[in-house]
Amino acid sequence: MKGFLLPHKVQRIALFVILAVLFVISTVIILSIVRDVPTSRVFQSLALIILYLAIICCVFSREKVEDEYISSLRLKSIAIVSIIALMTVVILNVVQVVQPYDKYLALKEWRKEAFWSGSFIIDLAVLYFLILKISIRFKR
């Protein structure tokens, strides 16, 4: 697993970038609410692209000491996230089927938006990273 992961330094830089982008986004949103000025579409897109890239860099980077135990924790985290993703899809399918037709269509549209916009994958990546970090931190 070590082979295709980015150096640990990348993770630190990416975490800093995530915090910086979140800070800038929240500041801009607050200012736009206070001054009643809408934020530009270019800014939103740029901020999201940087945020997504930083998250991907964070997820695909090594730990300080990347050994077989960390690799096993990575595999377990991937397994947990895969089960959660599968359960989400199955539960949504079941819920969708039992709904009345108009709600069924609305849910279908929402699912298309949620699953194909790419944010679902990013959510899973973040979840994987959190589970890995928590298991490294607390399995002592």
């Binding site: 000491v65 135990y69 960390i70 096993s72 399995k139 002592r140």
Partner: protein
């Protein structure tokens, strides 16, 4: 599977971090192995045996329940 790594480490008067540094693994790995939550690979087990100057069988041994479950 149980192990005597904690005992061997105490004999050498090493901390978990020092042992981890010698074996080029993280401290979490040593903690997990010592507590029996993680079984190391053959390579790491051999490295440990070499470091402590004993055989792998001296470091790792099966319990009665392990033998029954195989």
């Amino acid at each position: 599977m149980r192990n005597t790594i904690k005992v061997e480490r105490a004999k050498k008067d090493l901390t978990q971090q020092e042992l981890a540094d010698h074996l080029s693994v993280s401290r979490q790995t040593i903690i997990a192995i010592e507590s029996g939550r993680f079984n190391p690979s053959v390579k790491l087990a051999l490295k440990m045996a070499l470091f402590f100057g004993c055989s792998v069988q001296d470091l790792f041994y099966l319990e009665e329940s392990d033998l029954n479950s195989i």
